[in-house]
């Protein structure tokens, strides 16, 4: 596989589903690090058509994984399975218990003001201060009392992020959360996610169709196809990352080729 030629990343193809560390005994300590996601031989069919067909995936605690793939390849289905929303599955799936999801649409309850949306579902009677603190982290402390319908697209998406973060997730599942945002708002939101990830260190699975977004944010980029993870690339680009970095451009080109573009 051509990915081995890149010095910039520890690139490993995983069609044979052997964990990367098995090739390198020196990484045994890293392999012992706890997992946030363990998926073995997962199958999910719609009718006769298997969308996910014998998929294996491990995500380490605190690891940021981006999941790329052509439209309809099953990446959103995989995320829904990890979220526990889709249980019509065969195979073995284990996920961190504390997990939170941010969807492409913010999905705030329109009849609860923003801060009540943020603390919805938390045990006991959570105080407003708790919501305000989470909202402050995404720069929305002043909008706590607003109705969701009065928020802009970017604000609503940040409120949804605050709602996910207030649960202190060990696994944060992001389903194209920036896809509906305009380009400038998207850049700011990506930056915000990177900051929040560094501060709280959850494992993140980010489903996206934006190669640059994946390369800007992730420790590891997975490319899905034919119902499995076809390519698995670990990135050790310096953070914060720069689109103008030549290594970045090389990786971008390779990923696009895997996605069948360019």
């Amino acid at each position: 596989m051509s990915s081995h030629t890149y010095a910039v990343g520890l690139a490993t193809a995983v069609e044979d589903s052997v964990p990367a560390a098995d090739h390198q005994p020196g990484l045994a300590v890293q392999e012992a690090r706890p997992l946030a996601v363990r998926v073995k031989n997962l199958v999910r069919s719609f009718g006769d058509r298997p969308v996910i067909d014998g998929l294996d995936l491990d995500v380490g605690a605190g690891e940021f994984v981006a999941l790329l793939g052509p439209s309809g390849c099953g990446k959103s289905t995989l995320l829904r399975i990890l979220a526990g929303l889709d249980t019509q599955i065969q195979g073995e799936v284990a996920c961190a218990r504390r997990r939170a999801v941010a969807f492409q649409a913010p999905r705030l309850l329109p009849w609860k003001n923003v801060w009540r949306n943020v603390v919805l579902g938390l045990p006991g009677r959570p105080e407003k201060a708790r919501a305000t603190q989470a909202l402050a982290e995404v720069g929305l402390a002043h909008r706590g009392n607003a109705w969701p319908a009065t928020l802009s697209g970017g604000e609503a998406q940040r409120a949804a992020l605050a709602r996910a973060l207030v649960r202190e997730p060990e696994l944060l599942l992001l389903d194209e959360p920036f896809a509906a945002l305009d380009a400038l708002t998207r850049l700011r939101a990506q930056d915000l996610v990177a900051q929040l990830w560094r501060r709280h260190e959850p494992a993140v699975v980010l489903v996206t169709h934006d190669v640059e977004e994946a390369l800007l944010l992730a420790d590891r980029v997975l490319v899905m196809g034919h119902g499995v993870i076809e390519h698995d690339v670990s990135l050790d680009l310096r953070r914060p990352r720069d689109v103008a970095d030549p290594e970045f451009a090389v990786l971008r080109k390779q990923l696009l080729r895997w996605l069948g573009v360019g």
Binding site: G84, L85, V101, A105, P110, W111, A149, T150
Partner: protein, 282 residues
């Protein structure tokens, strides 16, 4: 506005015609809303008074608003109208409470559980098409001529609109919100309380609007058969004595009650649905 440097009069032939967008801010609320809302009613009564006093409408057909108002005042002074109104309101309240609870409970059962829908929806949709006023003879056979058949008739009229609208409202709750709430760890009870009920509330209020309207209709039917008191009785009695004024007073009371119901629902909507951005009308 800055013009491009190359602008010259020769180009003006190609230039689009600009239309000024006039500001509408400040145009609203010059006249207070209640005054504007009352204007239509005042105008209608004014025309009626004009037609009566010029003799276009004969007093034996329809008396002037002034005379109707005098009759109304007399009926209030001698206590006839208040007691009739009290009796009628009680019937409506009982019927609403009974029929409303039945409709809401059935809708919740059918809305939340597919088994409930399979069991209840088909028979209710069949019963709904039976004109409820046609059930009066049967209700009298079952319950006699006292209060029971009247309350039962109102309850019947009220239950169906509430059932249909609330059922549709529960099934119309955005599945994306239900899904999101599940990822937040909401239990089934919490899901119903925080997502299903508030999501179905707009439909419930539409159902309530229909129900309240139908409850007055059912009241008129119920009280014109075998009643010895109430608004409907007052009207039937007046008809036998050719007191058109009394009939018109009763109709006016119905209209005012309808207005009161509308105000009540509007207030409920304003308070309960304050989260919903609405088209305010042009």
């Amino acid at each position: 506005m800055t013009l491009p440097e190359t602008f010259s009069p020769e180009q003006s032939a190609r230039a689009p015609v600009l239309v000024a967008i006039t500001s509408t801010s400040g145009q609203r609320r010059r006249v207070p809303r209640p005054v504007r809302r009352a204007s239509g009613v005042v105008l209608a009564i004014g025309i009626w008074q004009l037609l009566s006093s010029t003799g276009v409408i004969d007093a034996s057909v329809l008396d002037s608003p002034l005379h109707v108002a005098t009759t109304g005042w007399q009926l209030i002074r001698n206590g006839e109208l208040p007691s009739a109104l009290g009796v009628s309101l009680q019937r409506v309240a009982k019927g609403l409470l009974l029929g409303g609870s039945i409709g809401v409970v059935l809708a919740i059962i059918a809305g939340l559980w597919r088994f409930g829908e399979d069991l209840l929806d088909a028979p209710l949709q069949m019963l709904r098409t039976v004109p409820f006023a046609g059930l009066i003879p049967l209700l009298i056979v079952w319950f006699g001529v006292g209060e029971k058949p009247k309350v039962a008739l109102i309850a019947l009229g009220v239950a169906f609109p509430l059932y249909i609208n609330l059922f549709a409202g529960i099934r119309g709750v955005d599945p994306a919100l239900v899904e999101a709430s599940r990822t937040l760890g909401l239990s089934r009870i919490a899901l119903i309380r925080h997502v299903i009920v508030p999501g179905a509330l707009p439909s419930l209020l539409v159902g309530l609007r229909f129900s309240l309207g139908i409850s007055w209709l059912a009241l008129v039917f119920a009280e014109q058969v075998n009643a010895t008191n109430g608004l409907g009785y007052l009207m039937t009695n007046a008809q036998e004595l050719f007191q058109t004024n009394v009939i018109v007073v009763c109709l006016a009371v119905y209209a005012l009650l309808g207005l009161g119901v509308d105000l009540l629902i509007r207030t409920l909507e304003r308070v309960l649905l304050s989260w919903r951005p609405r088209f305010q009308g042009a």
